[in-house]
Every structure is written in structure tokens, then in C-alpha cells.
Symmetry: C2
Subunit: 317 residues, 2 copies
């Protein structure tokens, strides 16, 4: 026990010393040295502290609301995964409440934005959505995890010779990791409601839709921002056409969209229109879906506006 | 010197211990106790650590990019002010760069959202705006600081009897604080460019425009989201009409907007239309302005979409 306490104190202390502390006052002088001398940082800070004149203001680190990094050793993926978890700000009315969970792929890119939106939209003076736990899944091997099939075809259906798609086709393993390793940890350690959302952009977009088609019990709502329907000669469009029986029931919310990714004639836009027409044609009972086109957004800026619309659509307020 | 080192170590250590650390694993159990037992938190954490079964995953605090709280003792406002500062993520190409500064009022509400937008839009794969330092000014006495005149009239021009506007009229003092106390500290301690933006919502919106009219040298660009032009029987609309000479020069960027705040007949919407027509009529040389109406947003949600549009408008990319 004593050893444990000491180890915690040591971890906290060393994280603080070599992490963010005391950078404030010194930012001006330190910027240029940060990259080069990271390991000597603490010594440099002490040296510069002595060299700086006294100032009338104090500086401390700004505390963002509670977010954590959970490290998971995945047997399925045979690797260690970092997972980001953002908990809602709680007040006394929330003490006995549980919260829906939003799982977002490409956690490195979209976790902070979604955490911010969720906090803002669920503020008591806004209440556009409920409070939500956001789980960000950063990538280790993006192409491997976020593609439904093994393929080296590019968006024109021609073989890609760069080798970038070599590891593709790991969606099934990735979903298995989420279902049997990640979700139990989240549900055991946070105040979760059963309601779950799966969100992704680009390759994350096709993964979200593939998950809806192949593991419909895993999530209640899906967000697919600029999904790369061109993947493997439109594999996912064919799967949608073949897998969904007209007039069948699927009690889900589904938001999909694209931006201006080469104009209205682009393979992105065409893929979305095809998907939208399949979904409309199938007349799926219980599926509440929304397609949005953002002609003023590029592929990398669509998520900024679309995540906002998607959250509001899913919670219908 | 030794005393200084010890004091820094102590501050860092105690902030860490009583701040965010080790909360991860225990969120589930701790939620209900957080509010009640804040001061005993460290002891509770140690106790629960011992009581919890071992888990296969580790948890650490998620580190958001560098933001700091600067405490300033203001002689002008005769009070201590907390200021939030968010620095951009730097890479090796940024080492010798300096950055524009965005000052945002109601820092308690909008600092995190703006920091997130600035980080996202300035990412190298997006480059919609340059990297920017965001300075959030949280409120102490909002009505006092963020109103241009002493008035107790409500939005209908009738006397407000609740006493909520009693302290109003402190804009001039507040601008003086920003100009002579806050800006020098920001400019001495961070890698600032001279280019400065002043942003506000509601009362912050009228403060932003009042500052442009009365202290045009302070900022280069202004954002006024749903400015409360109804204030003091439309004082600021009259000031705009009287202060700006037709055809005069004002080399600024100006973004203003409103949402659905009681429909198209609301006092908010009418105020914005009046302001927009005055600005258009004056044919100001060098003023690059943009008015946007968001009929699908409420008063409290306009900032979410408008800050995004405002940043892109100001940097024109």
C-alpha cells in the first residue's frame, strides 16, 4: 500500500514537472527551445526563472473538464491502445444519472472537437442534447482498422502502387475489439446508459456504416461524415443494396453527409447520392436518417459543421 | 533561489494532487462524492484505490494543448482578474513565428470553444486560418464591464426594477483595463503579432462595437454575435450614426450576426438590421464587414456557428 502511494505521488510529480507546469510566464523565451531540449526542460525552466525579472501576475495551468487516457492491452488487435474518455460536467441534479456514450474514430483528430460540442450543447442554458460521455479512439494503423475489406484499389478503381492500402480490411477485428474489449471497460468504469453512438469521418465513415450493416446490435445511432464509399469498387454500396431487405426494420438514427470534395461530380458526392437513394428505396421501418450536403466545406472541414448537425439530429431537440 | 525552487515544486505537486490526477479508474464511484467531499478528495482516492479490484487498463489525465490562467491585479478595476490564455500547438516551422491575438469576452462561456476552433481551423491539413493566441476574459461583474452606458432600461425601453442593471456603464474602464493592464502582459509574455481581434456575444457584442467606435486603435477586427443593440434605448445605434462620418476611413474587419431571438420581428433582429443599414449607408473606406442571420439558432447557440464563420471571414481563406 505504502509503495502504491509512493508510486502514485512519483508519477504525478514527474508528469507535472516534465509536462505542462510553469510554462506560462516563460512561453516567450521557451518556444524556440521546446522542440530541441525537451529532456532538459526542467533545468532550463529553473535557469530562466532566475533570469527573468519579477512580474506582477501569476500563471497556472488551465484545467479543461475531466478527460482521461485509458490504456488497454488488446488481445484481439495484439497491441496496446490508448483510448480518450471525456466525462460530462456534473451538477447536483446529475448525481444519480447515467449518460449515452459516443464512440468516435480518428480520436486524434476529432475527440477534442466532439468533447467541446457535447459540453456546449448540453449546457443547462442550451440543452440541445443530453450530457454524453465521449470516447475517442486514436489510430495505430488507420487503414487496417477503418476499412471493411482487403483492397488496394484507389478511388478510381485502379490498383494503388504506393503500398498505403496493403494492411486494409481490419474492420471486423476492430469491431470485435470495440465490442468485447473496449465497451466492457467503458461500461464498468463510467456511468453509461445503454444508448451508444458510433461516429467517423472518411474511412471512419465507411466503418460506421459497415458496423451498422454487419453488427446492428452494437450501436443505436451512426454518424458517417464524408464516408469513402469509393473503397474497393464501392464495396459498401453493394453491401447496403444486398444486405438490407426492403421494408425490414432497423430502429436506428443515421446521419451521413459530404462536403465539396471535388465538386458535385466528385466520387465522394456521387457515392453519397447513391447511398442515399438506396436507403430511401429500401423504406426501412424505424430508421430515422438524414443526409446533408455541405458545398462550402472541404473534406477536412466537413466534420466541424457536420458533427454539430449530427448531434442535434440524433437527439432531435 | 532554493526557496523559489521548493515553492515551485510544492505548487506543482499540490495542484496535481488535488487537481485532476488518478480520477480515471474511479470515476464511477467518485461521481456522487465529488461535490460533497472535494476537500477530502485525496484521502478518498487513496481509500478507494485500495478497495478497487485490479484492472487490466491504466488511466491517466488527458492533456489538452497548453492553456493557462494568468492572474492580474488590476488597479483600474480595483480587483483581481483571472485571464485564460490558449497558445497554438507549435511545430518546428513555427519557432520564429509570432501570432495574432483574439480577445474574447465572457471567457467563462466561450474560451474553450474558440480555442478548439482556432486549433482545428489552423491545422496544417486545413489552414483555414493562421495559428492564433486566444485570450479569454471571464467575468467578475458582467453587467458593469460589458455595457457602454449607465442605464436601467430593459429591452422595451421601460425601467427594469430588478436591480440587475444597477452597476452598468463600465465599458470605458474595462477597455482601459484591457489596453493598459491586460494587453501589455499578453504582449510581454507571449509571441504576439500586433494583429488583434475583439470578440463578444450579447452584451459582449455591444462592447465589441462600442470599442471599435470609441477606441479604434485598440483592435484590427471585431466580432459581435447577437449584440444587444436594445441597450439604453438603442444608445449604440445612435452612437454609430453620429460618430461615423460618411466616407471616412476605418481599416477594420467587422463581423456581426444574430440568431432567431423571437423571430424576425424581435428587438435583436431589428437592431441588427438597423445597424447593418447604418454601416452600409456610411460607405466607410477600408471597412470589410459581414452581416449574417442565423434563423435556426437561438440566442445561446448562435456563438457555436457564428464564431466559426467569423474566424474564416476575418482571415479570408
Amino acid at each position: 500500500m505504502q509503495k502504491k502511494i509512493l508510486s502514485i505521488v512519483f508519477t504525478v510529480l514527474s508528469t507535472s514537472l516534465f509536462g505542462q507546469s510553469k510554462e506560462g510566464k516563460l512561453s516567450n523565451l521557451l518556444y524556440a527551445h521546446n522542440k530541441l531540449m525537451y529532456s532538459f526542460r526542467w533545468l532550463i525552466i529553473l535557469f530562466l526563472s532566475a533570469a527573468l525579472p519579477a512580474q506582477s501576475q501569476n500563471t497556472e495551468t488551465y484545467k479543461y473538464p475531466l478527460s482521461e487516457i485509458v490504456t488497454i492491452h488488446s488481445k484481439i488487435l495484439k497491441e496496446t491502445r490508448k483510448i480518450y474518455v471525456h466525462c460530462p460536467k456534473l451538477d447536483s441534479a446529475d448525481l444519480n444519472k447515467r449518460f449515452p456514450v459516443l464512440y468516435v474514430m480518428d480520436g486524434d483528430n476529432h475527440f477534442e472537437l466532439l468533447a467541446q460540442y457535447v459540453d456546449y450543447l448540453s449546457r443547462p442554458d442550451i440543452s440541445a442534447i443530453p450530457k454524453i460521455i465521449v470516447v475517442g479512439i486514436p489510430n495505430t494503423e488507420r487503414v487496417r482498422d477503418l476499412t471493411p475489406t482487403q483492397s488496394i484499389s484507389n478511388y478510381e478503381g485502379k490498383p494503388d502502387t504506393t503500398g498505403q492500402y496493403k494492411s486494409s480490411g481490419g474492420n471486423e477485428n476492430f469491431f470485435e475489439f470495440i465490442k468485447t474489449e473496449l465497451m466492457p471497460i467503458i461500461e464498468d468504469n463510467y456511468k453509461t446508459k445503454p444508448y451508444k453512438i458510433f461516429a467517423g469521418h472518411s474511412f471512419g465513415g465507411i466503418s460506421s456504416i459497415n458496423c451498422m450493416l454487419t453488427h446492428p446490435a452494437m450501436f443505436d445511432a451512426y454518424i458517417a461524415i464524408s464516408p469513402s464509399f469509393w473503397w474497393d469498387n464501392e464495396y459498401l454500396l453493394k453491401l447496403t443494396e444486398n444486405k438490407i431487405i426492403s421494408g425490414s426494420t432497423l430502429n436506428k438514427k443515421l446521419f451521413y453527409c459530404n462536403g465539396n470534395e471535388g465538386g458535385s461530380n466528385s466520387f465522394f458526392h456521387k457515392g453519397l447520392l447513391k447511398f442515399n437513394s438506396i436507403i430511401a428505396k429500401k423504406k426501412i421501418v424505424g430508421l430515422d436518417y438524414n443526409y446533408k450536403y455541405y458545398p462550402n466545406e472541404m473534406h477536412m472541414t466537413v466534420p466541424i459543421v457536420a458533427y454539430l448537425d449530427a448531434l442535434r439530429f440524433i437527439f432531435n431537440r
